[in-house]
């Protein structure tokens, strides 16, 4: 078979997930972190889509998840807007006011 097999898709998904994770953990900018999360979610979606060969449920799940992601990003940006307003930065490092004392 000349086509790329299921496993390759899954590996791509894993790669997306892990590199998203790397971005989340290492980039300071909140938007960047969001991008990382998007990557991770896409990785997960890819898993679902790959398995949607069994029945349609996988695809449906993925569609719903895309919708949810959009909502999430919208909320995140709304909050980020507020944060920027108050902190004048969107670097997570600079958000360190909450703590003991």
């Amino acid at each position: 078979m000349s086509e790329i097999g299921l496993h390759m898709y899954l590996c791509l998904a894993a790669l997306l997930f892990s590199s998203g994770l790397f971005v989340v953990l290492s980039k300071r900018n909140a938007v960047f972190v969001l991008i990382g999360i998007e990557l991770m979610l896409n990785g997960a979606n890819l898993v679902l889509a790959s398995f949607s060969q069994i029945d349609l449920n996988g695809q449906i799940f993925a569609i719903f998840s895309v919708v949810l992601t959009v909502c999430e990003v919208a909320i995140a940006l709304a909050i980020l807007l507020n944060v920027y307003k108050k902190y004048a930065t969107s670097d997570l490092d600079d958000l360190q006011e909450i703590g003991n004392g």
């Binding site: 679902l48 398995f51 069994i54 029945d55 449906i60 995140a76 507020n82 997570l92």
Partner: protein, 473 residues
């Protein structure tokens, strides 16, 4: 089955969505109402009406088993916990809340509850995921609702954690789905999940751990609880947490694998320990209580993993006690914070000032520690009993370990919970301040402590309540 039959059946089964539908429609009604009027009282009464109606429906309707094309799975446990959610969301009306954000606030609270109800009742992966996300969205937004600087910080952090854990969860669903081809929780038990499936379940559980604030997904709790408005925090600390635990209980009852038990109990112990140990060093009242709430998740956790009848009932009992304690404790914090009492030192020597209020607080804190004669003790007592009994029946040492950790943590929790009464009564006041509370506040405070005492002395109230829920008309 042809489409027509399917649709008819769905229409027939829609009645099982009565509670959720009521809440959702009520939420929309609230939103619409908010456009018409800014009157806080009106909004609150609509909210109360919706909750009461939902409560009525919850009391009325009971079906056990899967329904709506297996999307949902109803159990009596979920019905009981629905009652807890509704009641506690009713109680938060006692909190002071300016009319300014009332519409959106109560709308989001309702959405949060809907989400949690679906978490408990979800059967298909999709609904589970959506319910978790719905709950999270409500929670993310509510965290910002004090519109203070730090609130947004807490909000964005909460959201990032949440999104991450939902990504993990989604990946987990993908794996389970891929390996089993199944799309329903109730079918999990009928497959050999093997390694991949187990990893998927683990990743799925991570998402639930996040909701239930179990180690290591508890890190968002202190910041969120600290910065969200108090009434929102009360709900956040009760509703999603219990919902997730109920779902974990159901998942475990389906899968029942050894490793889940061990993993969860170990994480439960870690949760307890990390909660109490971290709380030791806090100097802000609310932050300390937040860590206490983490510890309580750990205390609640074993119930979800022990499937004896005792455990199920004790779970309900502990949950009720926990709900009442948390609603009460955040009520008090609200009252104190509005008078500038944030840090523990601020409480110095206030004990004489307003005995009724502060004695009630002390009663409440004792209950949180788990000492007699208040409900918290009975709850802990049931926890210990459950663990003992489970150990007695299957002899796994991990239950004893859990018991030891729980006992040990109870001692430590003495240290930090008691610091508030310590400052109140034992530390002498440097400058004389006068803190006044309204009669109404004092009345509510007393009521809370009376309820806590009553639950200790007449614990059967709750079983009777359970019975009442069961004997639907």
């Amino acid at each position: 089955m042809n489409l027509e039959d399917q649709l008819t059946e769905i229409i027939n089964n829609l009645q099982f969505l009565k509670v959720e539908s009521t809440l959702m429609l009520g939420a929309i009604l609230l939103l619409v109402g908010g456009m018409i009027t800014k009157s806080g009282i009106l909004i609150k009464s609509v909210y109360a009406g919706v909750i009461l109606l939902a409560f009525y429906f919850n009391w009325q309707g009971l079906a056990v088993g899967s329904t709506l094309s297996e999307s949902l799975f109803l159990t009596s446990t979920s019905q009981h916990f629905t009652a807890i959610f509704l009641l506690s969301s009713l109680i938060i009306l006692l909190y002071k809340r300016a009319d300014e954000h009332a519409t959106e606030f109560y709308f989001l609270i309702l959405s949060l509850i809907v989400g949690s109800l679906f978490i408990m009742k979800a059967n298909s992966f999709l609904v589970t995921y959506l319910a978790v996300e719905l709950t999270s969205f409500g929670a993310y937004i509510l965290t910002n609702f004090s519109f203070k600087k730090k609130a947004h910080e807490a909000g964005i952090k909460y959201l990032l954690f949440g999104a991450l854990s939902s990504a993990i969860m989604l990946f987990g669903f993908g794996l389970i789905y891929g390996i089993s081809g199944s799309f329903y929780l109730s079918e999990l038990g009928s497959f050999d999940l093997e390694l991949v499936g187990n990893a998927g379940i683990l990743m799925m559980l991570f998402g639930l751990f996040f909701k239930a604030s179990i180690v290591p997904l508890h890190v968002w709790v202190p910041a969120t609880y600290q910065e969200a408005p108090n009434d929102a925090t009360a709900i956040l600390s009760i509703v999603p947490k219990l919902g997730a635990l109920v779902l974990i209980q159901r998942i475990y009852s389906i899968v029942q694998s050894e490793w889940i038990l061990n993993l969860c109990l170990i994480l439960g112990m870690l949760t307890i320990l990390s909660g109490v140990l971290s709380a030791l060093r806090q100097s802000g009242a609310r932050r300390m209580i937040s860590f206490g709430a983490i510890a309580h998740s750990g205390f609640l956790f074993p119930f979800a993993l022990i499937l004896s009848e005792t455990s199920i009932q004790a779970f309900w009992w502990y949950a009720v006690a926990y709900a009442i304690m948390n609603v009460a404790v955040f009520y008090f914090l609200e009252e104190f914070e509005s008078r500038g009492l944030d840090r523990l030192e601020d409480f110095s020597g206030l004990g004489d000032n307003n005995p009724i209020m502060f004695v009630s607080v002390t009663v409440l804190l004792i209950s949180l520690i788990g000492l007699p004669p208040v409900a918290g003790f009975t709850a802990k007592f049931f926890l210990f009993t459950t663990l003992w009994e489970q150990y007695q029946s299957d002899g796994q040492l991990i239950f004893i370990a859990c018991l030891v950790v729980a006992v040990f943590a109870t001692v430590i929790s003495l240290f930090f919970y008691l610091r508030i009464p310590y400052y109140l009564f034992l530390v002498k006041e440097q400058t004389s301040r006068s803190i006044e509370f309204s009669f109404w506040t004092k009345f509510i405070a007393t009521l809370f402590s009376i309820v806590l005492l009553l639950l200790f002395f007449v614990p059967q109230i709750l079983t009777v309540m359970q019975q009442l829920l069961k004997s639907t008309p």
